[in-house]
Amino acid sequence: MTDRCGTIWIAIEGENAKMIYDIIVNSHTYKEYPDSLKLDYKEGLLLIMENWWCCSPFADCVIPFLLGDDYYYMQHDDLDDEWETNDHERKYFTIPTYDEP
């Protein structure tokens, strides 16, 4: 067993945003566990937040299978206090920086 957990934020743009929003809201998982993913959909942009524990099948598997690499994400791993993002141009996400104590 692992205590690894964290949070991932995903941003999806354009036509993909509506497609993924429809897939999620009609999915079995979202209907049964509506708190598992937090969604914010405005025309042309879907923002998703997932709190994961142990592993994240949605962010690690479902989204890449559906979209390839065509999305932005920022992830925090609580155990190691590590951040990761593929949004290097900071379109949606910027990895937080902390002041030295």
């Binding site: 497609m19 897939i23 009609n26 999915s27 079995h28 998982t29 099948p57 949605f58 598997c61 479902v62 890449p64 299978f65 559906l66 979209l67 390839g68 690499d69 065509d70």
Partner: protein, 143 residues
Amino acid sequence: MIDWSKITDTSKYVVDGDDAKRVYDILQMSYFGKNKKLPTSLLPDTSKYNYKLEYKYEDGVLYIEERVSGCSGGFIINELLFFLVPHDSIYILSERCNDGVPWSYSIKDDEGKYFVRPPKTEYELQQEAEARRFEEDTTDLPF
């Protein structure tokens, strides 16, 4: 020591009922459906690993076969299906081979609606015999 490059997993899935067409449409619209390959984030090195996915929709039933070798991209369809549809809409027969020889099977179709589990393999029989021996040994312990 297991040589994982020689391990192959083949899983056959069936989705029926109202969910079959919805899942088929999602597969068709997906990155995989459009490109017939996994993105590099899921399968970084196609020269080392092998992943094959085939599916067809026929008479209201969706048939899927996923073949994974060398522990590549494993069980992606499993994660996708269980995210999309209820547990009881999915039927599965999985075969694990070691160097081409069937090693073990697992099934999620107890009524045999779409799949019948093949007879137990030599490996499975050996595992069962070992488990029985272990149980007998531990029941003889004096505490």
